[in-house]
């Protein structure tokens, strides 16, 4: 009898402790539609994402998921340099030119993946490009596909595709019918209204939106009197684009019922919080990697956890888009 009571008391104590612990430590895992990750920090596409060993290092450093470089049908060497430099104020200009080893080399390497939540970024010009690549990856462990509809500096792909809502609709719809793996569309600000691209992607059945990509930009050296980037025009990333990205996330989440991954100028946990309050379910990290290296993922997660404790949020879902309520 004493033993039964003792066991009951211990169980009650454990339940109480669990409640207490869960109250103390908020849950930073997040759902992005059908995609579930342990924490909301994701390595952005184009940054470091070239090999399983690097993915593993970034995942082990605390990222919730990693997005690969944008993979194309054929290998691409990218542009001549300079392909990346600072414009000051934690802003960066780049035109790497979507260098990548091509789908055949990449899919072979990706078959080694056992445990890393990898989102494969794909870039192409037509629905056939995308479908072909998805089929070649069907035996790999992949968390989701992210369609690059927004690279601002390579002809006939990226923004050139994203600026054509009908093409976007076709691509998304056909991929959706070819795979069970969730599809994310990464959008940017091109020459048409980006909301039309999102509308088309949603109609096609996309599972989530990543917003935004870099913004088309350039810089000229006044002594050399030449554009600095090898490709002359590239994409602006980093702190200067954050407020634009926040506006986009807020706008998308106000108009569409679609999960969003925020991207653009996230340098610390407070930036991540701002994106979540604007409507993002997760965030992508890029330019800041240069400053804070791989420590940035666990730093953001720690800061986010502290913020949630202070504000009494039990999970990310409670925070997503609540700034719209005020």
């Amino acid at each position: 009898m004493i033993n039964v009571n003792l066991i009951k008391n211990i169980r009650l104590l454990i339940i109480f402790m669990n409640c207490f612990i869960s109250k103390m430590k908020p849950d930073i895992s997040t759902h992005i539609g059908p995609i579930f990750i342990d924490n909301p920090t994701i390595l952005a596409s184009g940054i470091l994402g070239i090999s399983i060993n690097i993915f593993n290092r970034i995942y082990s450093s605390g990222a919730g998921a990693v997005v690969t470089k944008s993979i194309s049908m054929l290998p691409s060497s990218g542009y001549d340099g300079p392909s990346l430099f600072s414009v000051g104020g934690d802003g960066w200009l780049n035109a790497i030119g979507l260098s990548n080893p091509g789908i055949d080399n990449f899919s072979k390497m990706l078959r080694q993946n056992k445990k890393i939540p990898i989102i494969v970024s794909l870039v192409g010009s037509t629905d056939i490009d995308f479908i072909t690549m998805v089929k070649k990856l069907q035996n790999s462990k992949i968390l989701a596909y992210e369609l690059n509809l927004s690279c601002p500096h390579v002809d006939k792909v990226g923004l050139d595709v994203g600026d054509d809502p009908e093409l976007v609709y076709n691509i998304v719809k056909k991929i959706k019918s070819a795979t069970q793996t969730p599809i994310i569309a990464k959008v940017g600000l091109g020459s048409t209204n980006y909301l039309d691209t999102i509308h088309a992607a949603c109609d096609g059945g996309v599972d989530a939106i990543t917003a935004i990509n870099t913004l088309r930009a350039m810089a000229i050296d006044i002594d050399a009197m030449k554009p600095i980037l090898g490709n002359k025009i590239g994409g602006l990333s980093g702190r200067p684009i954050k407020t634009i990205a926040i506006r986009c996330v807020y706008e998308i989440s106000s108009k569409y019922n679609i999960p969003i991954i925020g991207c653009g100028g996230i340098f610390d946990w407070s930036d991540a919080v701002e994106f979540i309050l604007a409507g993002a379910s997760a965030v992508q990290i890029g330019s800041v990697i240069n400053n804070k290296w791989m420590q940035i993922f666990s730093d953001i997660n720690q800061g986010l956890t502290n913020y949630m404790s202070q504000k009494n949020f039990a999970n990310i879902g409670e925070m997503v888009g609540i700034s719209k309520k005020f």
């Binding site: 184009g46 940054i47 470091l48 994402g49 070239i50 090999s51 060993n53 690097i54 593993n56 290092r57 470089k69 290998p75 691409s76 060497s77 990218g78 001549d80 340099g81 300079p82 392909s83 990346l84 430099f85 600072s86 414009v87 000051g88 960066w92 780049n94 790497i96 260098s99 990548n100 080893p101 091509g102 080399n105 050296d221 002594d223 050399a224 030449k226 600095i228 090898g230 890029g286 330019s287 990697i289 240069n290 290296w293």
Partner: protein, 280 residues
């Protein structure tokens, strides 16, 4: 002064420097000298991204100049871009950003420096950082007599040190005949060192490291990979889990030998893996 300059300058943006002097080292190798106190104070093993305006940008190990506040790049013409840099004229401008990367950890005592071709550049810079108490043996490797570089410069840099400079050419037209690794093997048979530093062709470094570690000697190598951004963003220079521009370029030999890409394979500009054709 350097600190003051540093506060004004954006290290991550190309900074234009005028070429003030050109030294023809060999028929295919030139040293381009320019004034820049920040590059001049870079540490051995560090590199800069060098912009040839309108052409391309290349990662280059930072060479010393004998004059204060000057630095240099030593370039061998072998491709379109290195040839464009090689062909730059006096008074023309190059853009530099950096310096980037880590540096050799210089141990006290008796040091062996093993360099092949333009891989000697960081080792020559290392000589600027040694103390008079250091005992230095420098091996200069080249294919043939007219490709031997930096022998006189090294002699003058080492005039206050106990030192020995061994030159070897593959065809035996100057100095010893054969690979630098043969010289290293002979030296390690006769004597020992407190540390070995190497830079040059990867397979040469691979073998130097193996020999050093077989004798339990501390060894470091400066690694070359394709670099586009130089700051740990683009991933072009990845070697297993390492990003050479950010984690390196200098790595401990013991770490490198555990790395199944070092000495075996590298990534081309697209990031595809290519194998070294054979292992020496």
């Amino acid at each position: 002064m350097v600190k003051w300059l540093g506060s004004l300058r954006n290290f991550n943006k190309p900074y234009l420097c005028k070429i003030e002097k050109i030294i023809d080292e060999t028929p295919t190798v030139r040293t381009l000298i320019f004034s820049d106190s920040i590059m001049s104070n870079s540490r051995p093993g560090q590199f800069a991204m060098v912009w040839i305006p309108g052409i391309n940008e290349l990662p280059m190990s930072i060479m010393i100049s004998t004059k204060k506040n000057q630095a240099a790049f030593t370039v061998r013409k072998h491709g379109v871009n290195s040839t464009a840099l090689y062909n730059m004229k006096l008074g023309q401008y190059i853009g530099v950003r950096g310096p980037y990367g880590n540096n050799f950890n210089i141990k006290p005592g008796k040091l062996l420096l093993v360099g092949g071709g333009t891989g000697l550049v960081p080792l020559i810079r290392l000589l600027k950082f040694i103390k008079t108490s250091h005992n230095i043996t420098l091996i200069i490797g080249a294919k043939t007599k007219n490709e031997v570089i930096f022998e006189d410069l090294a002699n003058s840099l080492l005039q206050h040190n106990q030192h020995s400079i061994i030159t070897t050419t593959m065809d035996g037209t100057y100095g010893c005949k054969g690979l630098v690794t043969h010289i290293v093997a002979d030296l390690l048979h006769e004597t020992t060192f407190d540390a070995i530093y190497t830079c040059g062709p990867e397979l040469m470094m691979f073998n130097v490291i193996k020999m050093a570690l077989s004798k339990q000697i501390f060894v470091q190598a400066s690694i070359e990979r394709i670099m586009k951004c130089g700051i740990g963003i683009c991933g072009s220079c990845s070697m297993n889990e390492n990003i050479v521009c950010k984690d390196g370029t200098v790595f401990d030999g013991s770490y490198l030998l555990e790395n199944n890409e070092f000495g075996y394979m590298y990534r081309n500009k697209s990031g595809s893996i290519e194998n070294y054709t054979s292992k020496v």
